[in-house]
Each structure stands twice: as structure tokens, then as C-alpha cells.
């Protein structure tokens, strides 16, 4: 596993300590880079400086530990898991630990690190080092107090013990420890001695969530703040020509109507007035660039697949010759629509632009990037932008893009008032950064009962799969292997969506492998395991996945799902996929109800290295699997002349409780560093369900959403 950068840095530059005026000791550290040598820690906790340090630990005189995490929570549990790692190496009782969001200090608090699927993977080493280094300082302090050698002392559960059996609590030595040199060459715990990591820990914000405390961006308000509802182009490709705001302005609570760029903002004393005012605007738009429809996209993507203008992402052997010599060729085309993110908390942002500074508050994953962009747009100095992050009501990739924050800043800049932009659900779905529509064509050659060639072609909107993806499974397993990509440029905005590319690619590939397995008359999981043998011991450094770990994950799911031993009327489908450094295998159990498939259960096996917080990890996996099934089954989003055709939950279907299967998750036992968890559960889910449906009905699903095809299959059954 990759070592964190900070490990190569001197401990002194990565961690600093000081005594607090109010008692206790403060440890500041920087997870991603060194702290400036001149950086100093405050002695007053309200002055925490998040520029040089991006996280802090406070140990009180009574031995209570507070971990100040700058990481906002997006729903992936990092706000709980990251402090767990520190507390483990620090060796304190979790009941004595509290986690606080960094205190807001507009002067210093601006460059936070956004949480994401990879936070734990990247933070693992540095967080452990921080906890362990702090513990060693406390031990050194106790040893000094006793006049003994530190190596004769040890610390556990917040208490330091020496050879005579004397004890001192952490809180009793902080005054001495704060003035000691930061020790180097720290020894980390053996994972088998972990007392917190690997144990179920409840979400640190749980109490606030269940009592309705204002945690989210949309909950933020300030004195004098007004609400903004924005009228954006109704179609991608439209330009505003004129508008009439007379009726809008006459609505109670509407304060102002302003044009900015190609948009109109209605300001109101409350959200309702602003939204009503927006609806009352009479606007005229004209076509500026092309107005695209889903039919156009289908046409263009199929044209790409039928053509020969591709970039080669990876090629092994000679695919052409292998196809020429094949006994049989199988070729399938898999198709997916655009998808909106639909975070439960609609996009929103607060801005207060004054002559002195630009104050921004809200849910965003890219604070530095967004601050920079806003500085440019408003022509302000970067240090005048103060961005405060809040808990996020879901992200799924949408909150990587700061369009909503830019809007808030622009509006506040014009009216010089604190404002909050709130998207309605319709705004949120119609002004998205969508998962782009993608089509895959996969072709396989079979010769002498073996898979001899594999060619994957990707035709996507606005961009193609990341370079590494061509080196995921089955790269290296098949002698003649090729991945080709090409894209069509659209004016519809697209972006990352939970498990970018793999969220659909995994479905396509694992459906295809299921079909090849039938063709070769071999069990699907066995086919994958057989193929994995070909890549074991490879010297090809481009290969991303581990065949050994993937095989073990598959074996675990086979065992836990009773693969192949289900009762009459239960049909199983299998799927396995590697993404975000994590190996996942899934088995879906379905039953037929009036000819319609119902997903009853999904068994998941995951190898994500050490599981930091099993309680949180299972939540992520369950959510990812159900999300994957929901979108594969129902996610349908289309355009007509640049206009999205479904913009609220009455027309756009998300999976709900009654359609939800039971998800049982199991983790491969591991001593390896933790890897991503927020995303990798999702990609295999659609394939597992599609493969189970094939077993039940004989229908091969090649397009998402499944529901549009299943209706036909139902009428077949009924007719």
C-alpha cells in the first residue's frame, strides 16, 4: 500500500504541541503536508489555526481527549473513523474521546480537507503516527517525572505505568509533555492489539441528527440573511433574451429580482416567497448552442461504437488475430442513461460579500478550488475568501462542483447582503452535473472452450474512463485484451457520480461474463476464479487489483450466500468487481412475484483491508449496494431539446423501502491498510441483479434502467 507523504517528513514538522491557557495540552498536526516551521499553536482553543495544521487533539488535565476534525461529513463516516484511528494509537478509552468540528475562525480557517472515499486510505498512516507520537510524548513525560527510562514504562487506556507499578493518567503529565521534544522513530501497534479499530462505534453526530440540530448547509442562517431562488436556463443551450418581473415583485416577501449572467435571482424574506417569485417571472429564452435530446445522444454514441475513431487505453496480445481464429464470437452492447445525483439535501450555499471579505458557508467537497474560483469571479484577493464547510446531506460527486457557491457569491456581491441560495428539487435535478450516458460494446472470442480475446469499447458523453480502469479486472487474465474509448462532446454538464464509470462498467462486464460462463458451461464465479489464475504472479505493474484478494472475496461470498444451494423459486446472480482499491463480490437472490423479479437479498463480501469501524463500514456497503440496485432498476433521466424530462420524485423514481432487499455484508479478515468503502459496494450490484433475473426469466438485460425492459417481459408472461 502507498505510504503517506508525511511519513517521510520529520516528526517535528508534522506535529507541534503547546500548553493551553485554560488547562490541558494541544497537539496540532497536518495530515497531508508539513506544518510551516514558524507555525505556532494557539494557547486559546478558540483561535485554532487551520492553515498550518489541519487537525488538532486536545488532552485536558483530567485526561479527556477532544479531536478537532476539519473533515466535514458527507455521509461516509469519516468523521467517526478518522478520530478512531488517532484514539487507537494514542491508546485512550473511546468514552473519554469527543469529536468536534473545527471551530470557525474566519481569519485562519479556510483550507479544509474534504472527506471522500479515499480519506481513510490516505490518512491511515499519518493518523496512526499522530496518535502514537502523542502517546510516546506522554510516556516520556511520565518517565521524566518519575526519573526513570521511558522504555521501562508503557501506556494503555489513558494510563501510564512504570516498572514499579506506579501509574499516572495522561492528564497528569500534559504540562510536562507539552514542552518535550517531539519523539521520532515511533513504533505503531500490532493490529492484533487494536482495541478501538475493528470495533463498532456509533456515528459521532448521532445525537445531533436524531434531535434535529442545525448541522447541514441548508440549516445555516445569519442575522439579516435573505433567501435566493434562481431561475436558470430551462434547457441546456438556451440563452436569456428578456424577462418581466412585475408580477414577481408584487408577491409578499419578494425583496428584489436581479439578473446575473444568464440567470435571474429572486430574493425573498423566506424560501417560499423567493420560490414563488421565481415562478412568477415571465422569461424569454432563445437557442444559443445546440439543444440536444436523448435520441441524439443514442444516435451519436452508437455512431461512435460503429465507427473506428478510438483511443486505445490498453492492448495486450493481438485481438484482431484472435477474433479471426475464434470458434465463436459473442458481442453485446450495454446502454445507460444520464443520472442526476439527487442528494437528499438540495444544493445550497450561503454568501455574504462585503468590502472587507467574502464569507461563504455550505456543503462543498472542494473548498480550496471553489474559493479560488470565487476569488477570480469577484476579482478579490484569495485571502479575502473565507469558506466554512458544513455537514453534507449526501454528495455522490455532486458537491465536488461549486456552481451553487459561485451563484451565492455572485448574488451577494450584487445586492451586498447575506444571502442563501436554495435549489428546489426541480432546480437540483435540472441544473445537474450528471453521470453521463455511456454505451459499452464488448466482444469476446472463444476458441477450444477458452476465452481467448476480449475487446471493450466505450462511447461516453464528454469524457472517458480514467486511465487506471483499463487495468482493472479482467486486464492480465486474457491473452488478447483491448480497451478502446471515445466520446461525444455535449453542452449538458456532466461530472463524477458515485464510483465514476465503474458504476455502469461493472454491470456491463459482469453481465457479459455471466453470459460467457453460460456459453462455456461453467459456473460464473468459477469462470472468474479460473481467469484470475492467469494473472497471479504477474510482473505487469499496471495491474491494479490483486487476484489473490479477489479470489478470496469471491470464495467468501460463495460460502455466505449458499451459492447454488437455494430453495425452489429463488434465483441467484453473481458479480465481482474491484474499484477504489477494494475488492467486492456480491450475490443477489431474487424471486418472481406475478412474473416480476423482486430482489430479496444481497450477500456481499468485501476486502477493504482493515475495517476501521465495522458498524459504519456495513452501513456504507449496504447503502452502496441498495443505491446500485435502485439506479440500475429505476434510474431514468432523459432530455428533449436540451430540457430534462423528469425533475422531481413524482417522475424520477428512486428506490424506496418496499423495493429494498436485505443486505448481508461480510469482510475478509485482513491486516492490510484500509481502502475505500463509500463507493466500491455499488458497482457490482446491478450485474448481480441482472444475472439473477436472467436465471429466473431467461431475459438478458442490456440497458438500464431495468424497469423499462421488465414491463415488456411482464406482458410477455401475462400474455
Amino acid at each position: 500500500m502507498s505510504q503517506n507523504k508525511s511519513l517521510s517528513l520529520s516528526r517535528r514538522n508534522f506535529l507541534k504541541t503547546s500548553l493551553l491557557a485554560g488547562g490541558g495540552m494541544l497537539i496540532g498536526f497536518n495530515l497531508l503536508s508539513a506544518c510551516k516551521p514558524e507555525a505556532i499553536l494557539p494557547i486559546d482553543i478558540s483561535k485554532l489555526n487551520f492553515n498550518d495544521f489541519n487537525a488538532f487533539i486536545k488532552i485536558s488535565d483530567e485526561g479527556y481527549v477532544t479531536i478537532f476534525s476539519p473533515n466535514p461529513e458527507i455521509g461516509q463516516g469519516v468523521k467517526t473513523a478518522m478520530p478512531m484511528i488517532i484514539a487507537e494509537e494514542l491508546d485512550v478509552d473511546w468514552n473519554k474521546v469527543s469529536v468536534a468540528q473545527g471551530i470557525y475562525d474566519p481569519k485562519n480557517y479556510q483550507r479544509q480537507v474534504a472527506g471522500g472515499s479515499q480519506s481513510i486510505r490516505f490518512g491511515w498512516d499519518a493518523l496512526r503516527q499522530t496518535g502514537a507520537t502523542t502517546k510516546q510524548m506522554l510516556v516520556n513525560a511520565a518517565a521524566k517525572q518519575w526519573g526513570v527510562n521511558p522504555s521501562s514504562c508503557y501506556a494503555s487506556q489513558g494510563i501510564i505505568t512504570n516498572a514499579n507499578g506506579d501509574t499516572l493518567g495522561y492528564g497528569e503529565v500534559v504540562k510536562v509533555a507539552a514542552n518535550l521534544e517531539v519523539p521520532e522513530n515511533i513504533i505503531l501497534k500490532d493490529p492484533k492489539d487494536f482495541k478501538i479499530i475493528g470495533h463498532d462505534i456509533t456515528n459521532v453526530d448521532i445525537q445531533k441528527i436524531i434531535t434535529g440540530k442545525p448541522l447541514f448547509g441548508i440549516d445555516y442562517s445569519s442575522e439579516g440573511m435573505v433567501y435566493a431562488s434562481v431561475l436558470r436556463p430551462p434547457a441546456f443551450g438556451d440563452k436569456l433574451t428578456s424577462y418581466d418581473d412585475q408580477i414577481s415583485r408584487s408577491i409578499n416577501g419578494v425583496l428584489d429580482v436581479i439578473k446575473f449572467g444568464n440567470k435571474i435571482a429572486v430574493l425573498g424574506t423566506n424560501t417560499w416567497a423567493a420560490m414563488k417569485g421565481k415562478k412568477a417571472i415571465v422569461s424569454r429564452w432563445e437557442q444559443d448552442t445546440k439543444l440536444e435530446s436523448t435520441d441524439d445522444h443514442n444516435f451519436e454514441l452508437l455512431k461512435i461504437l460503429n465507427g473506428n475513431k478510438f483511443k486505445t487505453n490498453r492492448e495486450d496480445g493481438n485481438v484482431k488475430t484472435a477474433f479471426k481464429n475464434a470458434d465463436k464470437i459473442i458481442e453485446r452492447t450495454f446502454e445507460s442513461p444520464f443520472l442526476p445525483h439527487n442528494c437528499m439535501e438540495p444544493m445550497n450555499f450561503y454568501a455574504n460579500v462585503t468590502d472587507k471579505k467574502v464569507h461563504l458557508v455550505g456543503p462543498i467537497q472542494t473548498p480550496a478550488w471553489t474559493s479560488g474560483k470565487i476569488a477570480k469571479i469577484l476579482d478579490r484577493k484569495p485571502e479575502e475568501i473565507h469558506l466554512e464547510m458544513t455537514r453534507m446531506g449526501g454528495g455522490f460527486g455532486r458537491r465536488l462542483y461549486g456552481d451553487f457557491a459561485e451563484e451565492a457569491a455572485q448574488i451577494s456581491n450584487i445586492i451586498k447582503k447575506p444571502i442563501q441560495v436554495i435549489f428546489s428539487r426541480e432546480d437540483d435535478m435540472a441544473a445537474g452535473t450528471y453521470r453521463p450516458a455511456i454505451k459499452y460494446r464488448i466482444k469476446a472470442a472463444i476458441k477450444d472452450g477458452k476465452l481467448t480475446a476480449y475487446h471493450l469499447k466505450e462511447a461516453a458523453i464528454n469524457g472517458n474512463m480514467y486511465g487506471l480502469i483499463a487495468n482493472f479486472f479482467p486486464a492480465g487474465c486474457i491473452p488478447n485484451y483491448k480497451v478502446s474509448t471515445a466520446n461525444y462532446k455535449s453542452n449538458i454538464t456532466t461530472g463524477a457520480w458515485r464510483a465514476p464509470f465503474t458504476n455502469f462498467l461493472a454491470f456491463a462486464e459482469q453481465s457479459f461474463f455471466s453470459e460467457i460462463a453460460s456459453e462455456l458451461e461453467i459456473d460464473h464465479p468459477q469462470l472468474i476464479i479460473d481467469l484470475l489464475q492467469n494473472v497471479k504472479g504477474t510482473t505487469d505493474e499496471r495491474i491494479q487489483y490483486s487476484p489473490e484478494r479477489m479470489e478470496e472475496t469471491i470464495n467468501l461470498v460463495i460460502k455466505k450466500s449458499n451459492w447454488g444451494e437455494t430453495p425452489e423459486g429463488v434465483y441467484q446472480g453473481f458479480s465481482a468487481y474491484y474499484s477504489h482499491n477494494t475488492h467486492v463480490a456480491e450475490v443477489a437472490d431474487i424471486e418472481l412475484k406475478n412474473g416480476m423479479p423482486v430482489v430479496k437479498k444481497v450477500t456481499v463480501a468485501v476486502d477493504c483491508g482493515i475495517v476501521v469501524n465495522p458498524l459504519g463500514a456495513k452501513n456504507q456497503v449496504e447503502g452502496g449496494v441498495i443505491d446500485g440496485i435502485g439506479h440500475a432498476m429505476y434510474g431514468d433521466f432523459s432530455f428533449k431539446a436540451g430540457t430534462p424530462q423528469s425533475v422531481n420524485f413524482d417522475k424520477y423514481r428512486l428506490i424506496r423501502m418496499e423495493e429494498t432487499p436485505e443486505v448481508k455484508s461480510y469482510f475478509v479478515e485482513s491486516n492490510l491498510s484500509p481502502t475505500g468503502l463509500g463507493e466500491p459496494g455499488l458497482p457490482p450490484a446491478g450485474g448481480a441483479v441482472a444475472n439473477a433475473i436472467f436465471k429466473a426469466t431467461g431475459q438478458r438485460l442490456l440497458k438500464q434502467p431495468f424497469i423499462n425492459q421488465l414491463e415488456i417481459s411482464e406482458s410477455k408472461i401475462l400474455g
Binding site: E73, G77, D205, N342, M344, G393, G623, L654, M657
Partner: protein, 152 residues
């Protein structure tokens, strides 16, 4: 604009609002009670669920003019310090992911358990069907409702 006197979480409050203003926005923007959430505005997601005379209601679609003597309970007033059996069960099962939908889920579940204190699995799934959780914490919601039923 009209003055309305509402009974919210046992307290009388007076607000000035347009008659078509949904209760959701009165709570959030006028009274700054931000616990009740906005998700869709068209009674499709359940994020805005509150109790009106103990019945679960979508506050995004309830105009303030239609409320008079009814007593309204929001997530902030469901219990003191989160000690309602449903809240305790939510904590024990560790239901939330992003957490945004959970106030609405808890309000739907607590109203449901009042009329159906010993629900079957299917009844729970039906009762909670109107509340979307985009993070898909549905398995845990189901478990937590079951646990709350057992404990109350």
C-alpha cells in the same frame, strides 16, 4: 400577510405569513427551527414530516392557513434530549449515513408506532415507503422501527 398563532411542541407562537406558505417554510425560515427538512416540496420524499395532532403530515404541502388549533410536533419537540423510543432505537442501530432524511424518517416512524405498536415487517416497510433515503439506510431504518416497537 396574516398573523397565525400555532401550537408547536407545546408552545404557542405567532407568525406573520402569506396564507399559502407551507408549514415547512414557516418552521425553517420564520421560526428558525431547522430540524424539519426540505427534500422535494411536493409530498414525495417525507423529509419534511411533522406530526399534526399525532398524525404524520408532509409540512411542505400543508399551507399555514389550514392549521388552527391543531398541535404540531417537530423533531425538536419529539422528546427531551432525544429520548423517544424511536430516537433511542435510531441511536442503537446507528441508522444515519448523511443523516439528512432521518428527522423525517423518525417522525414517520413515531407516528406509525402510535397507531400500530406491534407491526409486522411488511407493515413497517409499507409505512416507511413514503420516506426516501438517498443514502439507502433502509435496512437499518427497518431494524430500528422494529426495535423501537419492542422497547416502547
Amino acid at each position: 400577510m396574516t398573523n397565525y398563532t400555532l401550537k408547536i411542541n407545546g408552545k404557542k407562537v405567532t407568525v406573520t405569513a402569506d396564507e399559502d406558505t407551507p408549514l415547512l417554510w414557516v418552521l425553517r425560515d420564520e421560526l428558525l427551527m431547522k430540524g424539519t427538512k426540505f427534500g422535494c416540496g411536493i409530498a414525495q420524499c417525507g423529509a419534511c414530516t411533522v406530526h399534526v395532532n399525532n398524525i404524520a403530515v408532509r409540512s411542505c404541502s400543508l399551507p399555514i392557513s389550514s392549521i388552527s388549533e391543531e398541535s404540531i410536533t417537530t423533531i425538536e419537540g419529539l422528546s427531551e434530549n432525544g429520548t423517544h423510543p424511536v430516537q433511542l432505537a435510531w441511536k442503537e442501530i446507528d441508522v444515519p449515513q448523511c443523516g439528512y432524511c432521518q428527522a423525517g424518517q423518525i417522525m414517520t416512524a413515531s407516528a406509525f408506532l402510535k397507531v400500530q405498536p406491534a407491526p409486522t415487517k411488511d407493515e413497517i416497510r409499507e409505512a416507511m415507503h413514503g420516506n426516501i433515503c438517498r443514502c439507502a439506510s433502509y435496512n437499518r431504518i427497518e431494524k430500528a422501527v422494529k426495535l423501537a416497537a419492542k422497547n416502547s
